[in-house]
């Protein structure tokens, strides 16, 4: 199945978007947690401050369904 990861700010370069400026398409085999998906693409979850799916906060154990978009919020770069 396919999920879309979206990130801006400090996370964007680490994500390496390939769909548009902010979005990367990731193919996964079967059901996986966000933590496992991030590990597959070598993105250290320490750089993710918040995970948002359909406007709701999720954690690293969340298992997205096919076609879902997961927004990864980077840390605030100092107020």
């Amino acid at each position: 199945m396919v999920v879309f990861l979206k990130a801006g700010g400090q996370l964007r370069e680490k994500l390496k978007p390939d769909v548009d400026h902010y979005t990367r398409k990731v193919k996964i085999d079967g059901e996986k947690t966000v933590a496992e998906i991030l590990k597959d693409i070598s993105l250290d979850p320490a750089y993710v401050a918040l995970i948002h799916v359909d406007g709701k906060v999720k954690d690293l154990s969340y298992k997205p369904s096919d076609g879902q978009t997961i927004t990864l919020q980077p840390p605030v770069s100092g107020g």
Binding site: G8, R12, A46, H52, V57, P74, P75
Partner: protein
């Protein structure tokens, strides 16, 4: 607009000089050369303070100036062009102090026709500055004196009209508490460096502005096209939704997960109850509505309420991240309503929630260690996690009762009075309390605190993710990254626009400068902007040395906890900085800045920045840096290879 001096290029046109002692108010055409050379905002404040305030002037005396500057971009068609800067000699650090706020006051000042307001003297009685376009008056504020900031603003709006923008101080500022803030728009603060205390010393309770004019820019068509493209792009930015929903409050959890969250006065970096004071808890339990500054659609402000048993429900804006950390985990608060309540309390008395949180935390650790007792606290305790104890202690400070007098000067002065080793955990640099990040296992962040020009503050440089990426055990490469940030980030405080909007939504420095060139007549590039920021940084350093009369290195050390105490718990347990790393970072930093190893700017670097007059002044007092053996770096500061803005 009813002012005789027409502005252009983002400037409103008029500068006000007000002698509060005599009541004299003068209007001048804004000095365009000064604005161009010093970039408005913080830069112009720095130059005026350097030129006009005697080196031995008491920050609370009539010779200190209190300056408002709205820069060249505030009020223009630019995202979050909402800022206004305040500046004076800081009663907290005894050096240059500046602090800024969002909301609507900056644009209102510009729309009324003014770029700069420079105030001197001390008013004979409580006074407020009244500006209604061309009408400028000093008015009696006796009836407002004593009111909390959050009470004074609606009272003044009721008297003057809803369309006046109001900035106030609370009892803390009136009573000379050195970390007092200025509050506007029911929750926007110029919090740092004690600008509210300077207002109080001048008997200036408030500023009320109504501006109905407009601003002329250099090329409106190109500005409109450029900014419209930015707006369209950022509307789709993935960061926007979480930002709009939580503001910066969501960051408490991240800081905790990465073990940089100050907990119980920076004793440790991991707080077991962080989830209960994090952004999602705020939104779920306390949020009333979202709130934005002028010209911003990011609406990071959260209007909330705090409901606590036995207390009246209170309404406030916040807490944002810094307050969440420093009035939350740093005080051991375990529920978000507690944090909101303390946020409201400090806002209303007019105390910076960052320094205020740091000061109360320091008091709590003194109590924990038996350095102060219930005998010192009018029979009260001062325990971690107790809102009642914190509230009583704040009241003692604000009214300078008993031991509250010690703490009214901030943690550094309190530690000097309390002694018995408390200096080690007075978490400040140059007298200003640290922001909401523990730098013991984030060396760049510690260096940023150590070298910040206004005392420990994160807004000049923030390096946590760089520390993580580069390795938290090494100090290599941090100095140049910190310097780059110390140059680029304060540019926003010069131009008076919000850094958050730009920093979080992938706007490049080149795009900001392009917008600046459509607003102004300056025609600059990023390199020139950075060099001017370097110039401002060095002038502020020179002023600090001239006022405090010792080698700069003397003032750049953190408290001993930074290297003596390893982190005791959490994911980073056992980690920490060594003394050698602290010294090594300073050595690197000074070399990268073109300063000598005493932390004093050299003539070479000051000449390169056209600050020869400051070099002459340092030489007269024996604090001019020695020439560097290999000369000065051609460019000070380097942008981190990954985006870190």
């Amino acid at each position: 607009m009813a002012n005789e001096f027409a502005g252009s290029g983002g400037l409103a046109g008029t500068t006000l000089r007000i002698n509060l002692t005599t009541g004299e108010i003068k209007k001048y055409p804004t000095d365009r050369k000064l604005m161009r050379e010093w970039f408005g905002g913080r830069g112009v404040v720095a130059k005026i303070l350097y030129d006009e305030v005697p080196r031995d002037a008491d920050p609370f005396g009539p010779e200190n100036l209190f300056i408002m500057s709205a820069g060249v971009m505030s009020g223009c068609f630019i995202p979050a062009g909402a800022k206004i800067g305040f500046g004076s000699i800081s009663p907290l650090t005894n050096g240059h102090g500046d602090s800024n706020m969002g909301g609507h006051l900056g644009p209102a000042l510009k729309f009324a026709g003014y770029d700069l307001v420079i105030m001197s003297g001390i008013a004979p009685k409580p006074t407020y500055l009244y500006i209604d376009d061309g009408t400028v008056e000093l008015r009696d504020a006796t009836r407002y004196w004593g009111l909390g900031s959050l009470e004074c603003e609606p009272a003044m709006k009721k008297d003057l009209g809803e369309d006046f923008e109001i900035a106030t101080i609370g009892p803390a500022g009136e009573n000379g508490i050195r970390f007092s803030c200025i509050t506007h728009d029911f929750g926007r603060q110029a919090g740092r460096t004690g600008q509210g205390a300077v207002m109080g010393s001048k008997k200036l309770k408030a500023i009320a502005i109504r501006g109905t004019g407009s601003l002329k820019v250099h090329d409106l068509d190109k500005l409109t096209e450029h900014v419209t493209a930015i707006i369209q792009r950022t509307k789709a930015h993935p960061n926007m939704v979480p930002w709009q929903k939580y503001g910066t409050s969501f960051f408490v959890g991240w800081s905790n997960n990465n073990a940089v969250l100050p907990t119980r006065n920076f004793q440790t970096t991991y707080f077991e109850d962080a989830e209960a004071i994090d952004g999602p808890a705020l939104v779920e339990k306390c949020l009333i509505t979202h709130k934005a500054c002028f010209g911003c659609w990011m609406n990071c402000g959260k209007y909330t309420k705090a409901v606590l048993p036995g207390k009246e429900t209170v309404y406030l804006e916040g807490p944002e991240y810094e307050t969440g950390a420093l009035c939350g985990s740093n005080l051991g608060m375990t529920e978000i309503n507690q944090v909101c309540y303390l946020n409201w309390l400090m806002d209303n008395v007019g105390m910076d929630t960052m320094s205020g949180g740091g000061v109360v935390a320091f008091g709590m650790e003194c109590f924990q260690r038996g350095l102060i007792t219930t005998d010192d606290l009018e029979g009260h305790t001062l325990n971690w996690g107790s809102v009642e104890d914190a509230e009583h202690f704040v009241d003692m400070i604000v009214h300078r009762r008993g031991i509250g007098e010690y703490f009214a000067g901030g943690t550094k002065r309190a530690a000097e009075k309390i002694g018995r080793g408390s200096e080690k955990f007075a978490m400040q640099v140059k007298g200003q309390e640290m922001s909401g990040y523990d730098g013991r296992y984030a060396p760049g962040m510690m260096l940023a605190y150590m070298t910040c020009d206004i005392g420990a503050h994160h807004n000049r440089a923030w390096t946590i993710t760089i520390d993580m990426a580069e390795g938290q055990d090494t100090i290599e490469g941090r100095a140049n990254v910190v310097i780059y940030m110390q140059h680029i980030r304060p540019l926003f405080d010069c131009w008076c626009i919000c850094r958050l909007f730009w920093g979080e939504l992938d706007i490049e420095p080149e795009e900001i400068v392009e917008a600046l060139n459509y607003i102004t007549w300056w025609n600059i590039d990023v390199a020139e902007a950075l060099k001017t920021s370097d110039k401002i940084w060095n002038l502020v350093r020179c002023l600090y040395l001239e006022r405090n009369q010792a080698n700069g290195r003397t003032f750049d050390y953190p408290p001993a906890r930074a290297w003596e105490d390893k982190i005791p718990s959490g994911p980073n347990a056992g980690k920490g900085l060594s003394w050698e790393q602290v010294e090594g970072m300073l050595d690197d930093y000074y070399a990268c800045r073109g300063w000598d190893n005493n932390g004093n700017p050299s003539r070479e670097v000051l000449h390169d920045l056209k600050l020869d007059f400051a070099a002459d002044n340092l030489e007269k007092i024996g604090l001019l840096g020695k020439p560097l053996p290999n000369g000065i770096p051609a460019v000070r500061g380097q942008r981190y290879k990954a985006k870190a803005f």
